[in-house]
């Protein structure tokens, strides 16, 4: 029987190594795998590269992981937002590396990794400092910049419903980066609000098929947002 459900956080986090590239779903707090981030904090892996839209806020979750010195490098589109105090401190002190990527380029680079595309030409950032020192080329009279696939060793994903195959649906705008990140990592770990029987998810409405998913941990809402 295919059964990707795991019974404990320890089992969910098993095997995440120092130096991993970790893709973190979510846009702000919505669709962010809060429980799995806590699990990663407890698990202990360090020297991580984190790929996420934002650089955390407050002193919990991703911010806490950074504050503990476990994140060597962050790749994101919007590091400096209200409450990103830990990032600001670390960055000012030169204790964290940062790669700024336009949000759409970030999403497309992650998708490219999941889709086996090594690199692609995008018009975003042409003529700006984010395209400096990057290869550029014209197609049909328009300028494009070459961007590379961004794969992860691990993806931490928040889903709404999951079955034992790892088929997933999301809730509203919590979908965001989660489906593309789920495609792009060697080890995709999901926290799901609801576990459902195999066959109850509509095959027309599954957003992430289980082929992209390694492990599913049941994390009901109240626990995730406590």
């Amino acid at each position: 029987m295919i059964d990707k459900r795991v019974a404990s956080m320890a089992e969910a986090m098993a095997g995440i190594r120092d130096g991993s590239v970790v893709l973190l779903g979510g846009f702000g707090d919505v669709g962010q795998p809060d429980a799995l981030i806590e699990g990663l904090i407890a698990q202990g892996a360090s020297n991580l590269t984190v790929v996420a839209n934002n650089a955390g806020r407050g002193r919990t979750g991703l911010a806490r992981l950074m504050e503990l010195g476990r994140v060597r490098r962050i790749v994101c589109s919007f590091p400096r937002s209200r409450g990103s105090v830990v990032f600001e401190e670390l960055y000012s002190a030169g204790r964290i590396e940062l790669e700024i990527v336009p949000q759409g380029t970030l999403a497309e680079r992650i998708r490219a990794a999941g889709a086996g595309v090594a690199a692609f030409f995008t018009p975003t950032a042409v003529g700006t400092r984010l395209a400096e020192n990057k290869e550029q080329r014209s197609f049909n009279g328009r300028h494009y910049v070459l961007e590379h696939a961004l794969p992860g060793d691990v993806a931490l994903i928040e889903a709404w419903r999951a079955d034992r195959f790892g088929n997933l649906t999301y809730r509203e705008s919590a979908r965001n980066f989660n489906p593309v990140m789920a495609m792009a990592a060697r080890l995709t770990i999901v926290q799901a609000q609801h576990l459902v029987e195999l066959g109850t998810l509509d095959p027309e409405a599954i957003v992430t098929p289980g082929i992209f998913v390694s492990r599913v941990l049941h994390v009901p809402y109240a626990q995730a947002k406590e």
Partner: protein
Amino acid sequence: MPDTRTAPAGLSRSAIACRIAEDIPEGWYVNLGIGIPTLVADYVPPEREVVFHSENGVLGIGPAPSPDSVDPWLINAGKEPVTLRAGGAFVHHADSFAIIRGGHLDLCVLGAFEVAENGDLANWTTGRNDAAAAVGGAMDLAAGAKRLWVAMEHTTKEGAPRLVSRCSFPLTAPACVLRVYTNLAVIDVTPEGFLLLETAPGVSFEAVQERTATRLHRPQTAGSR
């Protein structure tokens, strides 16, 4: 000679948003940036169907919910709670930016620090050396939407013009802005430079020109007077 020390008030932020809403026809797919642009949706009458898109994968955003009916799973790109209209849909981030980059949005309205007379936009960072500036989806929107309009105050709080011959801040995208709505005027970006289309009530051409760091053109019909 007009008194340039006293800035004309012109339109309020809400009034700028309202003015922009007048120019959005039914049927357009529109992305609204943070700040004045977000206010635009409130001034499109509900019977005029316009579909609002948000970078985080929402098509068909409706008005803000009442405080007691907030759905924490449904936010816009500014991370504020929103609602979904009938006919709305959710997509993931790669599809959401396929919509943006693929030229499917009829319009994007963004705020700006500066707009140059060739349409260059600077709206994401004021410091050339600020390597940690947050770009978000601004560059994708500026490069991808069919039309880009800017909504902003005509000058900084200190009175420095934001409409310039050449941007002093790092660019978001070159030659992308088609039109600028400010508290003082509506101005098109044309091959000849800035073209003043209208001024706010009680604001003269000269008052706008004085607060603009490059030459404003008048429409041909005005020029023949």
